[in-house]
């Protein structure tokens, strides 16, 4: 799927950053099992909605083992909790420590999912255009650094092929040093060439200015206002009002379960936008 043509991609870079920030802050500052589950589910569903099944699978392959390690470490080293499940030697394994570790693993997976999902939408060009109004030089450095990561990884593969290691242990270490040395020189040299190309195209021109290609549209205003209002409502609502500061004790609001409805709306916004797009297209086709 070409995500560049989706409604979500067309949102202003600032709006996208705001949504990413909102999701991250909301999930990390509330130790809420339901929010963590919502975060992971909505993140995974967003990947699927925008046709990034393979990327989701690759990410889960990384996140799930890391999550498992987190659970294992917490179970082995944390002795907190009242409900003892069993003993390993003299050490008690409690239900609370298992649940808390599971929650941490969900937080980690959710954060990784959302960050990767937004990375597909927040490319280096958008970051450059968002910040170049503030400082063009810094924006160029930042966006080029973002683009440098995949390029460097690609170059590292080529360096490994050009400087293969033998089975000898001492040689392995030296070859690793040599590879890093070659890689840094190469990346630096290519950066110089990019700088020459930029200078040749007037990067230092005194009259240069970056046009904001992505306009802050009505949709952006609506998205930001909606999420701001929703956040205010949620944070000022009785269950969360008392916990305006980050809390580290897991809790679930069974009595005020309605609070999760607007939060779910917030988490599933990319999916809802996609749904809206699909429905709109279907109705347009029917009318034709």
């Amino acid at each position: 799927m070409n995500i560049n043509r989706t409604l979500f991609y067309k949102l202003h870079t600032g709006t996208l950053l705001w949504l990413l920030l909102g999701v991250s802050v909301l999930t990390v500052t509330r130790v809420q099992p339901i929010l963590a589950v919502l975060c992971v589910l909505s993140g995974a569903l967003s990947f699927l909605c925008y046709g990034q099944r393979l990327e989701l699978r690759a990410l889960l392959r990384f996140c799930l083992p890391v999550g498992a390690v987190l659970v294992l470490c917490n179970v082995l080293f944390s002795r907190n909790g009242m409900t003892v499940l069993f003993y390993i030697g003299d050490a008690a394994v409690t239900l609370e420590s298992v649940l808390y570790a599971l929650l941490s693993a969900l937080h980690f997976t959710g954060a990784a999912l959302w960050f990767s999902f937004y990375c597909a939408f927040l490319d280096a060009d958008r970051i450059y255009r968002l910040f170049s109004g503030v400082s063009r030089g810094l924006a160029i450095i930042f966006s080029l650094s973002m683009a440098l990561v995949p390029k460097t990884l690609q170059k590292y593969e080529q360096t490994c092929a050009a400087l293969p290691a033998s089975a000898d242990k001492d040689n392995k270490l030296t070859v690793r040093f040599l590879r890093l040395s070659a890689l840094f020189s190469w990346v630096l040299e290519d950066s110089f060439q990019t700088a020459v190309s930029m200078k040749a195209r007037g990067a230092m021109c005194p009259m240069c200015r970056t046009r904001q290609k992505y306009r802050f549209s009505v949709g952006d205003t609506a998205a930001v206002l909606l999420t701001v209002g929703e956040m205010c409502a949620v944070f000022l609502a009785p269950p969360l009002k008392a916990e305006i500061y980050p809390c580290f004790r897991p809790s679930v609001y069974f009595e005020q379960a309605w609070i999760y409805i607007p939060l779910a709306f917030f988490y599933f916004m990319p999916c809802l936008l996609k749904l809206w797009e699909v429905c709109k297209w279907k109705f347009s086709v029917q009318r034709i």
């Binding site: 070409n2 560049n4 393979l54 490319d123 280096a124 060009d125 450059y128 255009r129 160029i140 966006s143 080029l144 683009a147 995949p150 170059k155 080529q158 360096t159 490994c160 092929a161 050009a162 400087l163 293969p164 001492d170 040689n171 270490l173 030296t174 040093f177 040599l178 590879r179 040395s181 070659a182 020189s185 190469w186 040299e189 290519d190 060439q193 990019t194 020459v196 190309s197 930029m198 200078k199 040749a200 195209r201 007037g202 990067a203 230092m204 021109c205 005194p206 009259m207 240069c208 200015r209 970056t210 046009r211 290609k213």
Partner: protein
């Protein structure tokens, strides 16, 4: 009308003793198509960059260099950016943006144009080049040829009067190069843009060149039209060389295309005879692939499909194919860097392979060429490495073999220099020398002639023949069909992940009409048994 001129131009890099350009004088008319010709490191790129003030190298300059009658060094920044555009050799390092649509906006934004003007200029440029298919693409997903076309569009977007191109074809395969050349010619012929470019493989652009400036060790050796240049330097292009070696007297203009050359040869009815047998004997198998298939990701398409291939001792094998055919992947399977997901790879015991990468920079781990070659000959230990990185290194040859290889490849004078200060062709030679010094059983080259000038190509060709004579096994993947015709004993054509033809060299080049050498194209009407496929055969056949 003169657009720019140089008079007694001399330039010396900061810290260098000898000037890289020495008393160069020439003038270029508006609308001309000028070729800067010369060996690697003769000062072509320096001259090109001096023509654009904002990227001019640091150093001492004397003499005059004028654009539109006024010194280039006094041109206002905006004027220089707007009127003179520059495209560098490496298509991968020139982009600032992630998407083509944003890359094209970079120059007009820098010139402070309004949004409406930017949109118009970008739309005009994309339409002019017929590149709507590229407009919304991520630059990372483009091929080398497409990237170079984007670089040309990004340089042209504000309609410059002078276009400077530094070896724009050197990293492109012939078919990608064709699209780029069409775009360049459209600019030149329809819009009258003056083009100044450096290039080693000049056959495709020969018919369009109006003037050639020949540089030799920084001095202007000749400045003439294409015809006079080809009479003085027939080795520059096969179409001029073939009449020269066959002894055909060229009365009118020197043939500038292979078609013109063919007509000339046909009119003289040459009879050529060869003693080379069609079948070339082969040694014991060293690496064999049986039904090997490979894909980079599960679920993605196969890059190589059920490939059967055997590399034997003493082979000099060339693998040819367009971009994306799977050549580099095939090379990685042979070297053991990748493994097939189905099929088998069988290697002889204790077999050592060395790979010369497509980008020679990948193996430049030291500050000087001498250290790189020494490390290739005698692998450094952790202790020696520590000494090297602490600046107590010595670029002098560590043994006679380093000295010998460096001498053969013309690298002796570069031993104390930083490899990144060398030209692309010289860098390629350093990588080749480093691979040769590892003394492997099998040498695998990925595009060995990329960026090499004709003299270096000849030298590499000789080197490969010598290696074959002493029993080394060589395999290279390349687009350079003339080099293959001169060097290889066996050839294979890789298309869409499969070998469609594997044959001894002569059989390979006489059985195709497109994937064949310039010489075979010129002599295509000759009987295949006595059809020459390389220039050396033309010389031998003539005798």
């Amino acid at each position: 009308m003169e657009i720019f001129s140089a008079k007694d131009l001399t330039f010396t890099y900061t810290g260098a003793e000898a000037p890289v350009l020495n008393g160069v004088s020439f003038s270029v008319e508006s609308g001309a198509f000028v070729l800067l010709y010369g060996a690697s490191g003769c000062g072509k790129t320096t001259l090109l960059r001096l023509l654009k003030n904002e990227i001019a190298p640091k150093g001492r300059r004397t003499g005059q260099l004028n654009f539109d009658g006024r010194p280039i060094s006094e041109m206002p920044y905006e004027d220089s950016v707007k009127n003179i555009s520059f495209t560098a050799q490496n298509p991968d390092t020139q982009q600032v943006s992630e998407y083509v649509r944003n890359e094209l906006r970079f120059l007009p934004e820098n010139l402070g144009l309004s949004e409406a003007e930017i949109r118009l200029k970008v739309a005009e440029t994309v339409s002019f080049f017929g590149a709507q298919d590229l407009y919304n693409r991520n630059i990372r997903t483009l091929s080398g040829g497409e990237k170079q076309l984007v670089n040309l569009m990004a340089a042209f977007v504000c309609s410059p009067r002078l276009l400077l191109l530094d070896e724009p074809f050197s990293m492109l395969d012939p078919f990608s190069g064709e699209r780029f050349l069409r775009a360049l010619l459209k600019l030149h012929t329809e819009l009258g843009v003056t083009v100044v470019l450096t290039e080693h493989n000049i056959q495709p652009i020969l018919p369009y060149i109006t003037q050639v400036l020949v540089l030799e060790q920084g001095r202007c050796k000749a400045y003439a039209d294409a015809d006079a240049f080809l009479r003085a330097y027939p080795t520059a292009a096969p179409s001029a060389l073939i009449p020269s070696v066959t002894g055909i007297a060229v009365l009118d203009s020197v043939p500038k295309t292979l078609g013109q050359c063919r007509t000339l040869v046909q009119s003289h009815k040459l009879s050529l005879h060869f003693s080379e047998p069609i079948e070339v004997p082969r040694g014991e198998p060293l690496i064999s692939l049986r039904h090997a298939s490979f894909r980079y990701k599960k679920g993605s398409e196969d890059v190589l499909r059920a490939v059967d291939f055997t590399l034997c001792r003493g082979d000099c094998f060339a693998v040819i194919g367009a971009n994306g055919a799977g050549k580099t992947t095939f090379l990685k399977l042979l070297s053991g860097e990748l493994a097939p997901y189905s099929g088998k790879v069988k290697r002889a015991e204790h077999l050592s392979c060395a790979v010369v990468p497509q980008n020679p920079q990948a193996c430049f781990a030291f500050d000087t060429v001498g250290e790189i070659l020494n490390a290739a000959a005698v692998p450094p230990t952790a202790k020696t490495l520590f000494k090297l990185f602490n600046g107590t290194s010595n670029p002098a040859p560590v043994n006679s073999r380093v000295q010998e290889i460096a001498e053969t490849l013309g690298l002796l004078e570069f031993l104390p220099r930083n490899p990144f200060d060398l030209s692309a062709g010289q860098q390629q030679r350093v990588a080749v020398a480093a691979a040769l010094l590892k003394d492997p059983d099998v040498l695998l080259f990925d595009e060995p002639t990329k960026g090499l000038d004709p003299a270096c190509r000849q030298s590499l060709c000789r080197q490969l023949r010598e290696l074959q004579e002493i029993g080394k096994t060589v395999l290279f993947v390349t687009h350079d069909l003339d080099f293959v015709a001169e060097t290889a004993a066996h050839c294979a054509l890789l298309f869409d992940g499969e070998f469609v033809l594997q044959a001894p060299r002569r059989m390979f080049f006489t059985s195709g009409t497109v994937y064949t050498s310039s010489t075979a194209q010129v002599f295509c009407d000759t009987d295949p048994v006595c059809r020459p496929v390389s220039l050396s055969e033309v010389e031998n056949g003539k005798a």
